[in-house]
Symmetry: C2
Subunit: 155 residues, 2 copies
């Protein structure tokens, strides 16, 4: 549905929103969200370039949310790290005779439209789930969490 990178970005942002106030280091975020830290570093940088997070070097540094979690949408986060999930405006075949989209591309655009509307109206704050279910997917503690065995296709 969305790229791995977008997933990672969303997890990171949600994590930061959860720890809003204190700076979180790349390693801390990586551990909590189960994202490879080396890659997360680049994802966080993209988020920083987009102005969604602020970074602070040195002791006590790390990342913090740059904007209020009630004002940032899922779509904002996705757009910061991936290319923009565009609507289909013109016939992808480039046929000028088609002033309207053919049924296929109308249907495909409809899906893009729905996803855009859904993700575009969902704030990060909506994903924190106060009380009901645990905030992100980081359980009680951040270390020693029991993992379910994930099957690789190589086996």
């Amino acid at each position: 549905m969305i790229s791995q990178t977008s997933e990672y970005a969303l997890r990171a942002v949600i994590h930061l929103a959860h720890y809003s106030g204190s700076a979180r280091t790349t390693q801390q975020i990586a551990d909590a969200t189960r994202v490879p830290s080396g890659y997360l570093s680049k994802v966080l940088q993209a988020l920083a370039r987009a102005g969604l997070v602020r970074s602070q070097r040195g002791l006590g540094g790390g990342f913090t949310l740059a904007r209020n979690e009630a004002e940032v949408t899922m779509l904002d986060v996705i757009r910061a790290v991936d290319q923009p999930l565009e609507r289909i405006n013109a016939c992808p075949l480039g046929l000028v005779t088609h002033t309207e989209l053919c049924p296929l591309h109308r249907k495909l655009d409809e899906a893009v439209e729905w996803v855009e509307a859904s993700f575009g109206s969902t704030m990060i704050a909506d994903l924190l789930g106060k009380g009901e279910v645990e905030p992100l997917c980081d359980a009680s503690t951040e270390k020693d969490v029991t993992l379910r065995v994930t099957r690789n296709k190589s086996e």
Copy 2:
């Protein structure tokens, strides 16, 4: 939204539905749908393996739809060529403490669900657009179609 490969597969199937009855060669399909023929060949293979199209070698051969266009969904076609766009059933982080999905993954799954429902209930026949707009994106003739200039990022 969907992969290039899925797009190609859908175009090909729609083209075949439009020419239902007569066999269409890979080259004919490629020309009409603006898909690289070399690649299309493999896409058609996958469709054949999935039982969606039938192939016939030799003179006068080509591909035909194996099932009625009113009984095949967009999702069937997509599933034949791409890995299956799965619902999110369990926490992707593998946390066993999460019996329910966290808000993020519930939202993401919701999108998958919608797309699945939309594509799963749209038949190929629905994409032919009898009369209103041109069938697929192949305009009046299949050759000498005026193309809109498509900009490459390399320029």
